[in-house]
């Protein structure tokens, strides 16, 4: 499955909720303010393990818009909107943690 998270983990609990439920084969795509969780910050440990497994993506346009391109945590994979479409196609059911 593909899980999308669109809010900052500092503002809302949606990333945490997603992490509580996600199974071993699914991936996460951070979009919109969700990309704030892709930066090196005190919440970065939340996704460090998943990222190390290559299972955390972030939308590049959103990363750049928030001025955090040079501050990404380790192992975050950047994708553009075409890459977002590919993730939806490849990973089956999409779950939005809106």
């Amino acid at each position: 499955m593909l899980h999308t998270v669109n809010k900052s983990s500092f503002e809302r609990n949606s990333l945490k909720s997603c992490l509580n439920i996600i199974d071993d084969t699914s991936v996460i795509l951070l979009i919109e303010d969700g990309v704030i969780s892709a930066a090196k910050n005190t919440n970065a440990p939340m996704i460090a393990d998943l990222a190390a497994q290559g299972r955390v993506y972030a939308l590049q346009g959103d990363v750049e818009a928030r001025g955090i391109s040079s501050k990404l945590a380790d192992n975050i994979k950047l994708v553009d909107y075409a890459g977002f479409v590919d993730l939806v196609v490849e990973h089956g059911t999409a779950v939005s943690w809106v």
């Binding site: 499955m1 609990n13 949606s14 909720s17 509580n20 439920i21 996600i22 199974d23 084969t25 699914s26 059911t93 999409a94 779950v95 939005s96 943690w97 809106v98």
Partner: protein
């Protein structure tokens, strides 16, 4: 018609936003399409099916009783996160006693609500074809 597994993901309480009532409206329509329907109540979504909601004081429409109608439409898989309940100081006794009649068991009345762990929810979610989030 193809049968797919639809999950309705509810993470917000009843009245602070419109998502809860408009989610329920979709579920009621969905019943007519004869798909496999599950509802998940996670995070503050568990408040949607708490017993004893009374919206008189806020001037809004109390739609919580509509959940009782779901059983009549054969919508009887309401999964509630045990961890979400516990965090909120709630137990299954605080939830509305939603039931359905099981046609495979001589129309015996059975509970629609199942309190499940996040691990179980994870498995149920991974079996879905479509997830509608509200």
């Amino acid at each position: 018609m193809t049968t797919k597994k639809f999950m309705y993901l509810n993470r917000r309480s009843s009245f602070g936003t419109v998502y809860a009532i408009e989610s329920l409206e979709v579920v009621l329509i969905a019943a007519a399409f004869e798909q496999d329907v599950s509802l998940a109540f996670i995070d503050d979504g568990v408040y949607q099916i708490v017993e004893g909601q009374n919206a008189d004081g806020i001037g809004m429409k109390n739609f919580s009783k509509t959940f009782h109608a779901l059983g009549d439409y054969e919508i009887n898989k309401l999964y509630v996160s045990a961890e979400s309940l516990e965090q909120r100081g709630l137990s299954s006794n605080d939830l509305m006693p939603l039931v359905y009649e099981d046609e495979d068991d001589d129309w015996a009345e059975k509970p629609s609500v199942k309190v499940v762990s996040n691990a179980q929810l994870s498995k149920i979610m991974s079996e879905q074809d479509v997830c509608l989030s509200f």
